[in-house]
Amino acid sequence: MRIGALFLGLFRLLVYTFLLAPLVIVVLASLNAGNFLTFPPQGLSLRWFWTFLENDVFIDAIVYSSILAAGATAVSLVIGTMAALYFVRHAKREAEIVRIGVLLPLILPEILTAIALLFFFYEIGIGTEYKIALFTGHVLMTLPFVFLNVTTSLQGRDDSIELAARTLGASRYTAFRRITLPLIAPGMATGGVFAFIISFDTFGISFILKGSGSAPLPIQLYDYLRFNFTPEAAAVSTVSIILTLVLVTLADLLFSRNSKA
């Protein structure tokens, strides 16, 4: 029995290592001073970060991805929050259909959705022009995350407080702003952060719908990795990982302050 427990503990440790290893290795590789991704590293250096900072392609891609993610998140936040309010407060028999419908972009294979959107926009004569298809795809991909998080923050909450406010003479708008909004704010914050990260990282949609001109970061990284083996890609990835960590930490701080109040 003792040996069994030891074996199980070792197995768990291996799985946790397995989960973290590729991320740790990318960060370590970015500090490699050598010209190639050799191991063990030929000394430590930040030179690949400087190379990356001088490479307009990657800087442009990060800026482009951030703008795209911010735009998609803003639209998703509005549409997803409205849908969540409807789902928790008003949906009756159709609740299951609403839930599955809004979660469809998450359930369906991303690459197939991307192809479907490509055909659709081609058929209506827009194609991949003006980045409309790309933006729509990103809104679709991020919508389920806003919906799920806001739904969670609403469930188990009584909507009688809002009714009470209305009976006491608050206008519909005031009741929403003073009662409902503070209730769902943490869910919106978490959902928004999730949405931003998903949009920033999503591949299939961007790969199929990017069109001509500048491309989001994952696409540039993928194109680069197919033909290059320098640690510069690791430096770019490390920056992306740090950005994500900062975002998550910020949201966590915001969220824990909210739940204390």
Binding site: V15, F18, A29, Y86, L108, P109, E110, L140
Partner: protein
């Protein structure tokens, strides 16, 4: 009036899903029955079954299907074996530790799929971390073939989708009343018997959801097989994208995508039926 005002809330989401999910998927279905195009056109006038015929005529495409499905099944199995002890561990962990362990499990989700696959290429390559270390230790002369094959792809896919197995398992396990376990123990059941008769049946809905999620995600993933398999592991999804984007054969690519989706659906249904029969 109240109903009407409320339904305005769902209107934007409903319109978005209908316009940009339902209609586009219908477009794919219609596209798969179109005639192939000539002179660089993605599709021609009229309809036909040529897209489907091409898939079944050429062994190169036809054989990719069972291989992809098998790759998905093996990945799902590996994920289940790796995820179960982790889910049990987190479900039973003290509050203080739970957050940290949860974070470790979720962390791969927050990092882009390109970066995660790239991490695996650094680890598994011929001059990668694992092969270099083994060579320096004198354990091997020639690098082990860890990448550009099914092994590497399954390993990387299992990593990429492991969180999707742990999370449903965890939520199923956490719904279990700890008193049931205690009751079984006080009635003299051994730990393994408790697991077999109490814990595992309770976690069955989580096993189902996790397996279906991982299987569907694995067979439809593009980046990981492309980077870690180095285009040498030809999955149907890679061939679909190749037919649509590089060869510009839209009816054929659509037919292939639908055949993959229907095959996956059949496997999911069989799996759901089998697991339901056993445990309900």
């Amino acid at each position: 009036m109240r109903r009407f005002r409320a339904s305005l809330l769902i209107l934007p989401a409903a319109a978005l899903i209908f316009l940009f999910i339902v209609l586009p998927y219908v477009t794919v279905l219609v596209m798969s029955f179109r005639a192939p195009g000539a002179n660089g056109e993605p599709y021609g006038p009229g309809f036909g079954l040529q897209g489907y015929a091409q898939f079944f005529d050429e062994g190169y495409y036809l054989w990719s299907l069972p291989q992809s499905l098998l790759l998905g099944i093996v990945t799902t199995f590996v994920c289940l074996v790796l995820a179960y002890p982790i889910a049990l561990h987190i479900a039973g962990a003290r509050r203080r530790w739970r957050g940290l362990l949860y974070g470790i499990v979720l962390s791969p989700l927050l990092i882009g799929i390109v970066i995660r696959s790239y991490g695996w290429t650094i680890l598994l390559g011929n001059s990668g971390v694992i092969n270099s270390t083994l060579r320096d230790l004198g354990l091997i002369q020639r690098p082990l073939p860890l990448m550009y094959n099914d092994f590497g792809v399954v390993l990387a896919l299992s990593h990429v989708f492991l969180p999707f197995m742990v999370l449903p398992l965890l939520s199923a396990l956490q719904s279990m009343d700890p008193a049931v376990k205690q009751a079984a123990r006080s009635l003299g059941a051994r730990p393994f018997t408790i697991f077999r008769r109490v814990t595992f049946p309770v976690s069955m809905p989580g096993v189902q959801t996790g397996c279906i999620l991982v299987f569907v995600l694995a067979i439809s993933s593009y980046v990981t097989p492309a980077l870690v398999g180095g285009m040498r592991v030809k999955t149907t999804t890679l061939l679909v994208v190749d037919a649509l984007i590089d060869q510009f054969q839209w009816p054929f690519g659509s037919a292939m995508a639908l055949i993959l989706a229907v095959s996956a659906g059949v496997i999911v249904l069989i799996f759901a039926r089998l697991t339901a029969m056993k445990w309900n």
